[in-house]
């Protein structure tokens, strides 16, 4: 197969995916009960006021014409104005997206640093005490509610020992790193447990799998088996998992950002859902979808490179 052509094909497939996403988001946002204007004006406004503002915002036009307008604008990269904040959606997102990207990036890095080495140790010592200890510790991390872990970390390391700031984002790159460490750690805990467990399982599976026997039977030395199968399988699993969980991580950022007062898109997203701020919901979902799709593409390419048999 022509690799470049295949990649181009994948990219070509992404475009209709985006169109579909736009459609789904638009419909989902409109399915939410209640409407933006009532939410904005509250229960004390008169019906005339609600009607007037609804008209002003163009929300009384037919759904179809709103959809067409939305898709046409989105195709040009324009997303309109936030209903709640009355500023361009783009400026809101430009302010916040880097924060969330940095947070999830740091969380992924921390999770990998914790999980990779320990997964190998656990698999090599399967069901002996290092393995049990490692699994138990990760399980505690996995099973703790994010908001609770966040609160405990804040109470101990920030408010208690003053090692980290309690929340916020700071100014400048170094400050950002410093402010985002605890939230990233919080976000990483459950993710690292997922990686560790799956990786441990897949390493064990390779070690015990039939094809290792086949390979042995073919006369390959055990070291080659380890190198070829275990490492490759581990890499595939890791890449798959990271790709698989980017969406979850971005979603998990919702609560983490709330607890740590991090001004990212996760919080903006939930606030927008809860205020029916359609333009923000639509734009954010689309942009996140683009990012996640690109991650998937990268994952698949890596996958293909690591294991040529699966193709692109």
């Amino acid at each position: 197969m022509n690799r470049a052509g295949a990649i181009a094909g994948r990219i070509a497939q992404i475009v209709p995916t985006f169109f579909l996403i736009g459609l789904v988001v638009f419909v989902l946002a409109r399915l939410l009960p209640g409407d933006a204007v009532s939410a904005m004006l509250g229960d004390r406004a008169t019906d005339e006021t609600v009607q007037r503002i609804t008209h002003q915002l163009g929300l009384d036009r037919s759904i179809l014409s709103q959809l067409v307008a939305f898709l046409a604008q989105a195709a040009q990269g324009r997303f309109g104005e936030s209903l709640a904040f009355r500023v361009p959606v783009a400026s809101l997102i430009v302010e916040r997206l880097p924060v969330t990207l940095m947070l999830t990036g740091m969380a992924t890095l921390i999770a990998l640093c914790l999980a990779l080495p320990l997964a190998f140790v656990a698999a090599m010592t399967a069901n002996r005490w290092p393995d049990i200890l490692i699994r138990t510790v990760f399980q505690v991390g996995l099973s703790s509610p994010v908001f609770f872990v966040g609160l405990v970390l804040l109470t101990i390391f920030a408010a208690g020992l003053h090692l980290f700031p309690v929340g916020g984002y700071g100014e400048g790159f170094g400050e950002h790193l410093y402010h985002l460490f605890l939230p990233a750690l919080t976000l990483a805990l459950s993710f690292s447990a997922v990686i560790m467990r799956t990786l441990r399982g897949s390493i064990l599976a390779v070690l015990r799998a039939e094809f290792v026997d086949f390979a042995r039977a073919k006369g390959l030395s055990s070291r080659v088996i380890l190198l070829r199968h275990v490492l490759r399988s581990a890499a595939i699993t890791t890449v798959t998992l990271v790709g698989l969980h980017i969406g979850s991580l971005l979603g998990g950022a919702v609560i983490t950002e709330s607890v740590f007062a991090v001004p990212g898109v996760g919080r903006l997203m939930v606030d927008s859902i809860f205020s029916r701020d359609y333009p923000v919901i639509q734009a954010l979902t689309l942009i996140l979808a683009v990012l996640v799709s690109l991650t998937f593409l990268a994952t698949d390419l890596l996958h293909g490179w690591l294991d040529p048999r699966t193709g692109v």
């Binding site: 497939q13 995916t17 996403i21 009960p33 049990i132 699994r135 138990t136 399980q139 505690v140 996995l142 099973s143 703790s144 509610p145 994010v146 908001f147 609770f148 609160l151 109470t155 459950s190 447990a193 997922v194 467990r197 799956t198 399982g201 897949s202 599976a205 015990r208 799998a209 039939e210 094809f211 026997d213 086949f214 390979a215 073919k218 595939i236 699993t237 798959t240 698989l244 969406g247 979850s248 971005l250 979603g251 998990g252 950022a253 919702v254 609560i255 996760g266 997203m269 939930v270 859902i273 809860f274 979902t285 996140l288 979808a289 996640v292 998937f296 996958h303 294991d307 048999r309 699966t310």
Partner: protein, 269 residues
């Protein structure tokens, strides 16, 4: 390698047995009515009468934690079984047969997965209304893709493996290859993930509880109990701590049992 019931597996089984007993017979185990107020014993620290302390209504937290076991085991099961069955089946089929169905399902998986998971669940629960049943629906609509993707990936790996080539050479049928050879090997990581996912499901319940969209009061549910206790964290930490420990212990029980089962399933022919 010798097969036997490992100690961790037994520990896991014990934890789950205790939990199931609590879930089945809460009234026999719990010392108090989990909904009964006691204005004379509000926010009491753990003591002999209330080993887990009481909440701001004077309700006994041990009894509430025990009564929550049923709900939380239900969450762990209901929020994962649907996605597992749907996802694994689809993943196996499209992974093995490939072709147009594979491409279409692949795009559908991508489509669902491009939405941040929690946000999508929140949106769906917002549409359907808060509560556990709607949470299950939301999770089933979204969660199957994790299993499908994982299963499909494993099937592709196994499909290309040397032993399949060998088995093909032996002239085995497609069905036999898929069900007898590919599936048992490909399902293992999926089952391992399932166990993790059960713990995650309980956590999702608690995240929704934090936002007020999870189990509705006065139903005691661990995640909601932790979330409720959060405001009293500095003055009455036991309110969050014990339900939180219950979540951790349950997660541990699932994972130890799951790993043990995975080992047992790994019997060679």
């Amino acid at each position: 390698m010798k097969r036997r019931l490992s100690i961790p597996f037994l520990i896991g089984l014990t934890i789950l047995t205790v939990l199931v007993l609590c879930a089945l017979f809460p009234d026999l185990v719990a010392p108090y009515d989990p909904l009964a107020f006691d204005y004379t014993a509000m926010m009491v620290a753990p003591n002999a009468a209330h080993p887990f302390g009481t909440d701001q209504f004077g309700r006994d937290l041990l009894s509430r934690t025990i009564h929550a076991a049923g709900i939380d085991l239900q969450i762990a099961l209901f929020a994962t079984i649907g996605p597992l069955l749907i996802g694994a089946t689809i993943g196996l089929l499209v992974g093995w047969f490939g072709g147009l169905a594979d491409t279409l399902v692949g795009r559908l998986i991508d489509l669902v997965q491009t939405f941040p998971f929690l946000v999508l669940v929140i949106a769906i629960v917002a549409v359907l209304g808060p509560g556990l049943n709607n949470m299950y629906v939301a999770v089933a609509l979204v969660g199957w893709v994790f299993y499908a993707r994982l299963m499909r990936g494993e099937v592709l790996v196994q499909k290309g493996a040397d032993y399949i080539a060998a088995a093909r050479a032996l002239g085995y049928s497609q069905r036999r290859l898929m069900l007898r050879h590919i599936m048992p090997n490909a399902i293992r990581p999926v089952l391992i993930y399932l166990v993790t996912d059960m713990a995650l499901a309980i956590l999702l319940g608690s995240s929704l509880g934090y936002l007020g969209l999870g189990a509705q009061p006065p139903t005691p549910e661990w995640g909601v109990l932790v979330a409720d206790g959060k405001n009293f964290f500095t003055t009455a930490p036991w309110m969050s701590l014990f339900p939180g420990l219950a979540i951790v212990l349950t997660g541990l029980g699932f994972s130890l049992t799951g790993d043990g089962l995975a080992d047992l399933m790994d019997v060679r022919r």
